[in-house]
C-alpha cells in the first residue's frame, strides 16, 4: 500500500532517495546545499540516473574504453547490483573514488588526477555536474547529457555509452510500464488479448487485429468469470457431497470390519474347541490302553510267581522224600507227590505274554474339523425378518405396503416377498356387513398438507376396522374414482396426508367379517389453506357463534352474577372461544375482520389453556389485544401476562395471523397496508389452536381456509 507516500513528511526531514542508480539529481550524503535540490532528487520511480562511476571520474581522462573496466569493477564491488553497498560506498565515496582513481590512474596517463582526488575538488565537479544536469533530469535525451557533461570529454565516451545502456533500459522499462504521462489503454485487442490504446490500433502492431471496446471486453470477461464461478460453486457442492458420502462410507467400513472380525473369532473358536476335544479324547484312550496292558501283565506276573512257588515247593518235597530210607514210608509219601507232580506238569504254564507292549496308533479324525474350517468363510444365513403389522394408510385398492424389520447382525443380499390371497371365496353367511359410518363434517379440519376426518361408527355392534377412501378431484372429474384408500383404521378418525392446492372427496366404510359397508356420505376437503372449526364447548356463555360457524358475537354484559350457564370445558372469565385446528406441522394462516372500535384478543393457545384465565395472561396462550382508551388505540401482544410497549399508528381492520411451527413464530399483520405488526418467537411445545375473545359487545369475523397473501409472504 502506498498510502504512506501521500502523507506529509515532518518538515525536519529531507527526502533522501535511496536508489543510487536511479536518481539523477543525486544528493550527497553530506549535502552542502539543502532542500533546494530536493525536488530534483525526488521521484520514486524515476529511472533516470547517472552512473556513480561518472561522478568519480575526473575531467582528465584520456580516451579509453573504460566501460569494460568499470563494469568489472562495479561488479567486483557489487556497485551496480547492491544498493545498500552503494550507499555505504557513497558514504565512503572518496576512498572508493580514490581506489578507482588510482586504478584508472595507472591505466590512464592522467597525471592531474593521479593523486587521490581532492574531495572538495571533486565535489565541485559533482556539484557542477549536478547543477548542470538537474535541469536535464527529466529528459531522456542523450544529447542533453552530452551538453551538460561537456567538461568530461573522454568521460563522455563511456559516460554516454553508459547512458546509452541506461537509457535503453529505461526506455524498455518505460514501454512496459505505462507512465501517467502517456495515454491509458482504452480498447482491447482480442488477437493479442491485451488492452491497447486506440492509437496503437491505427498505427501500431495491432493494425490488423480484432479489437473491441475495453468496456465490452471487461463485460464479457466478467460474464465468463461469473459463469465459471457458478461452475466452481457446483463443483464445490459436488465435492462436499462426495466428502460427506465418504464419511458415511468410513463408518460402513468400520461396521463391516467389526462384523467380519466377530465372525472369524466365532468360527475359529469352534474349530479350536473341536480340536481340543478330540485330543483329550484320544489321550484318555491312550491312558486306558496303558492301564489295561499293565494290569494284564501284572496278572501274568502274579500267576507266574505262584507257579514258581509251587514248583519250588514240589522240588523241595521230592528232595526231602528222596532222603527218606524206609521203603514203606517212602512209597506212602511218594505216591501223592507223584500225583501232584503229574498234575502240576499237566498244568499249562502260560508263558506267553498276554499283551503286546506296543500301543495301537491313534489318529485324530480331522475331517469334520476340516469341514468347520472350510465353513469359516461362509456367511451365516440370515434370521427370518419380522413383518410389521399393517399400518393404517398403507394400502390402496390395488396395492399394499409391507414393512419388516432386519436384524442388524445379518448380512442380507436381497429379500424375497411371497404373498397369497386369503380372502374367503365363500362369504361367511353368519355375519352381515356393517352399516356405513357418518362423517362429522363440522369437525373436519384440514390444512394445505393434511386433513383430519372424524366420524361416528354408525353401527350398534363393534366393527373390525374402517376404510377411508379418497378421491382427488382433478379437471372436474366426479368423485367416483377412488384415488387412494386407507385400510385397517382402528378408530373413528384419520389424519390423512394430502397434496396442497387440491380438492378431495372423502368417504368412510366400516368393515367386519361380513365385509365392508357401503360408502358413507362424503365430505369435501380443499387443501387451499388451514380450516379449523370453532369449538362451542369451550365458549364463554356470553360468546355465541353465528350460523356461518366463523363469526363470533358478544352479547351485552348485563348482570354477571346471574343465569350464566358455564360449560364444563368453557371459559369462565375471558369471553373467549377456542378453535380446533388440525394437529399438523408447517404453516397455518387465517384472518380476522374487526371494527376499529372493537376490543378483542386474537391469537393461539394450547388445548388445555386455563379456562379461568384470560388469553395472553398465562404461558399457555399468545394473543394480540386491542382496546380503545380516550387518548388512543392501545395494542398489546400478550404472553404470560407481559407485552412489549408498542404503538401502532393505523388501527388494523383486517388482521392476518400466521402460525409457523417450523420457525417457531406467531405473526400478526395489518393486511390493508401489508404491514407487519408483531411476531412472537416461541418454540411451541405442543400443538396450539386459534383462540378469540371479545372484551365488549361486538362482532368478529373469521376467515380461514385461505392462502396467505403474497404481499405479506415476504415480511
Amino acid at each position: 500500500q502506498s498510502q504512506e507516500a501521500g502523507r506529509e513528511l515532518p518538515s525536519c526531514l529531507t527526502f533522501y532517495h535511496m536508489d543510487l542508480y536511479e536518481s539523477k539529481g543525486r544528493l550527497e550524503i553530506f549535502p552542502e546545499e539543502p532542500a533546494g535540490r530536493e525536488d530534483g532528487a525526488l521521484g520514486e520511480t524515476s529511472k533516470e540516473s547517472t552512473e556513480p562511476g561518472e561522478d568519480f571520474c575526473s575531467s582528465d581522462r584520456s580516451a579509453y574504453d573504460l566501460e569494460k573496466e568499470v563494469d568489472e569493477l562495479t561488479k567486483l564491488y557489487g556497485l551496480d547490483e547492491d544498493k545498500e553497498i552503494d550507499q555505504k560506498l557513497l558514504g565512503g565515496n572518496i576512498a572508493t573514488a580514490g581506489i578507482l582513481e588510482r586504478s584508472y590512474g595507472s591505466i590512464y596517463n592522467a597525471p592531474k588526477s593521479s593523486s587521490p582526488v581532492n574531495g572538495s575538488q571533486r565535489k565541485e565537479h559533482m556539484e557542477t555536474t549536478e547543477e548542470q544536469e538537474l535541469p536535464g533530469k527529466d529528459s531522456q535525451d542523450e544529447s542533453q547529457h552530452l551538453h551538460n557533461a561537456k567538461a568530461y570529454d573522454e568521460l563522455h565516451n563511456h559516460a554516454s555509452s553508459k547512458e546509452e545502456l541506461r537509457s535503453d533500459d529505461r526506455q524498455a522499462e518505460q514501454s512496459i510500464q505505462p507512465n501517467s504521462e502517456e495515454e491509458a489503454a482504452d480498447i482491447y485487442c482480442a488477437t493479442c488479448k491485451i488492452p491497447i490504446r486506440a492509437f496503437d490500433k491505427l498505427f501500431g502492431d495491432h493494425k490488423d487485429h480484432e479489437v473491441t471496446q475495453l468496456a465490452n471486453a471487461v463485460e464479457s470477461a466478467k460474464e465468463e468469470i461469473q459463469k465459471n464461478m457458478c461452475k466452481l460453486e457446483e463443483q464445490v457442492t459436488e465435492m462436499e457431497n462426495f466428502a460427506g458420502h465418504l464419511e458415511e462410507i468410513f463408518i460402513t467400513v468400520e461396521e463391516n470390519f467389526g462384523r467380519q472380525e466377530q465372525n472369524f473369532e466365532m468360527h475359529y473358536n469352534e474349530v479350536m474347541q473341536t480340536l481340543t476335544q478330540r485330543y483329550e479324547e484320544k489321550v484318555e484312550g491312550l491312558g486306558e490302553e496303558k492301564k489295561q496292558k499293565l494290569e494284564a501283565l501284572y496278572g501274568q506276573l502274579v500267576s507266574c510267581g505262584e507257579n514258581l512257588d509251587t514248583c519250588k515247593e514240589l522240588m523241595e518235597t521230592i528232595q526231602e522224600l528222596c532222603k527218606d530210607k524206609e521203603k514203606a514210608d517212602f512209597i506212602k509219601a511218594a505216591v501223592p507227590v507223584v500225583d501232584r507232580l503229574r498234575e502240576f506238569l499237566k498244568k499249562d504254564m502260560d508263558l506267553v505274554l498276554s499283551t503286546s507292549p506296543d500301543f495301537e496308533d491313534r489318529v485324530i479324525d480331522f475331517s469334520d474339523v476340516q469341514q468347520l474350517m472350510d465353513s469359516i468363510n461362509t456367511i451365516a444365513a440370515p434370521s427370518a425378518p419380522v413383518i410389521n403389522p399393517q399400518a393404517p394408510n398403507s394400502a390402496t385398492g390395488t396395492s399394499v405396503r409391507v414393512c419388516w424389520g432386519l436384524f442388524s447382525d445379518d448380512t442380507v443380499e436381497f429379500y424375497q416377498l411371497y404373498y397369497k390371497q386369503v380372502s374367503d371365496d365363500t362369504p361367511s353367511e353368519a355375519q352381515a356387513a356393517p352399516s356405513p359410518p357418518i362423517i362429522k363434517r363440522k369437525e373436519s379440519r384440514s390444512c394445505e398438507n393434511a386433513a383430519l376426518v372424524c366420524w361416528e361408527s354408525g353401527n350398534m355392534n363393534p366393527v373390525d376396522s374402517y376404510t377411508v377412501e379418497l378421491s382427488k378431484l382433478t379437471n372436474g372429474e366426479n368423485g367416483d374414482i377412488i384415488t387412494e384408500s386407507i385400510v385397517g383404521i382402528p378408530n373413528c378418525e384419520a389424519l390423512i396426508q394430502l397434496e396442497p392446492g387440491q380438492s378431495y372427496v372423502i368417504s368412510v366404510r366400516a368393515v367386519n367379517m361380513g365385509g365392508p359397508s357401503e360408502r358413507s356420505e362424503p365430505v369435501s376437503i380443499h387443501t387451499t389453506g388451514t380450516y379449523f372449526y370453532l369449538n362451542e364447548d369451550t365458549a364463554h356463555p356470553l360468546l355465541s357463534v353465528l350460523e356461518d360457524g366463523l363469526t363470533i358475537a358478544c352479547s351485552e354484559i348485563e348482570n354477571l352474577e346471574c343465569d350464566l350457564s358455564f360449560r364444563d370445558n368453557g371459559f369462565t372469565r375471558c369471553i373467549a372461544i377456542l378453535g380446533t385446528m388440525i394437529p399438523f406441522q408447517g404453516k397455518h394462516y387465517w384472518e380476522v375482520e374487526v371494527d376499529e372500535n372493537m376490543e378483542y384478543r386474537v391469537g393461539v393457545a394450547f388445548e388445555n389453556t386455563h379456562r379461568h384465565g384470560y388469553l395472553g395472561a398465562n404461558s399457555s396462550s399468545w394473543c394480540m389485544r386491542h382496546i380503545v382508551t380516550p387518548a388512543r388505540h392501545k395494542y398489546e401482544f400478550l404472553h404470560s401476562g407481559t407485552t412489549p410497549d408498542i404503538r401502532i399508528t393505523i388501527p388494523p381492520k383486517r388482521i392476518g395471523i400466521l402460525l409457523d411451527y417450523n420457525n417457531w413464530k406467531l405473526s400478526f399483520f395489518n393486511l390493508d397496508i401489508a404491514q407487519h405488526l408483531y411476531t412472537f418467537n416461541s418454540h411451541f411445545q405442543h400443538y396450539v389452536h386459534p383462540c378469540f375473545a371479545l372484551e365488549k359487545p361486538g362482532v368478529l369475523r373469521i376467515h380461514n381456509g385461505i392462502a396467505m397473501p403474497t404481499s405479506i409472504t415476504l415480511l
Partner: protein
Amino acid sequence: MALKQISSNKCFEGFQKVFEHDSIELKCKMRFGIYLPPKAEIGKCPVLYWLSGLTCTEQNFITKSGFHQAAAEHGLIVVAPDTSPRGCNIEGEDESWDFGTGAGFYVDATEEPWKTNYRMYSYIKDELPKLIKANFPADSERMSIFGHSMGGHGALILALKNPGKYKSVSAFAPICNPVQCPWGKKAFGGYLGSDLTKWEAYDATHLVKSYPDSHLDILIDQGKDDQFLSAGQLLPDNFIAACTERKIPVVFRLQQASTKKYLFGGKQGGVVCCIHPII
C-alpha cells in the same frame, strides 16, 4: 468516481469492505463501509443504507452490530457511510461531540463556515447511491434506509423528503423532532442559521405532516431507559402523534433496554431483517 478499497474481510461468505473516495458534495475524502452478501456475486441485490449516530464513523456499525449474518442470509447489500465530512479543517468542527465532526445531522448546511463541506443530505441522497450503483451489483429499484439516533433522524427525513425512493425506513432511538430538542436546536442553528422554516425542512415530525401518501412502512425501536429519551432529545411521541393524525403506518416499539449506543448490538441485524424483506 474512483473508489479506493481500504480493507476487505470475508464475513459469512460475503465481504465486508471499506472504500474511500473523493466526495464532490463534501469536498473531502470520505469512507464508507459496504457489506456484499454471497448473492452479490451472482446478481443484483437490494441495498440497505445505514446511517450512524453522533460521534460514529463508518466503522461502528460494522464492528458493533452483528448484522452480517442476517444480511448474508437475505442477500442484502448494506452500506454504512460516515457521519460527517472529515479533515476539512473548519474552525470549531471538533469543539463538541454533538456538532461538527461526527455530527453532520444529514442536512445541507447554508451557513458559513459549514456550507461548503457539510452537505450530508445531498451526499446520502444522490452522490452515494450513484456511486454504489456504478460500482456494485446494486438493484437500484430496491433501497431502504435505517439508522440510529442522529442516523435515525437522517433515515426518517430522507425517506419523508423523497417519497417512493425507499421501500421502508426504520430507526433505532431516532431524534424525531429536532427543532424541539437541544441537539437539534444546536445543530440546525449552526448549520442552517436562525430561519426556522429551514429547520422544519429537516424535521421528521414536521415533514410527516405534509407527506403526500401513506405508502411508507416505518418501524421505530426505542429503549425505555435510554437517557436521551428522558432528557427530551428524542421526542418520539410527537412523531407518533403526527403520524397517527396523518395516517402514516408506523409501528413503534419501546424496548426494555438501557444503553442507547449498544442497544441493539446483535439485535440490529435480526430486527432489521424482520421488516426489511419487504424490499
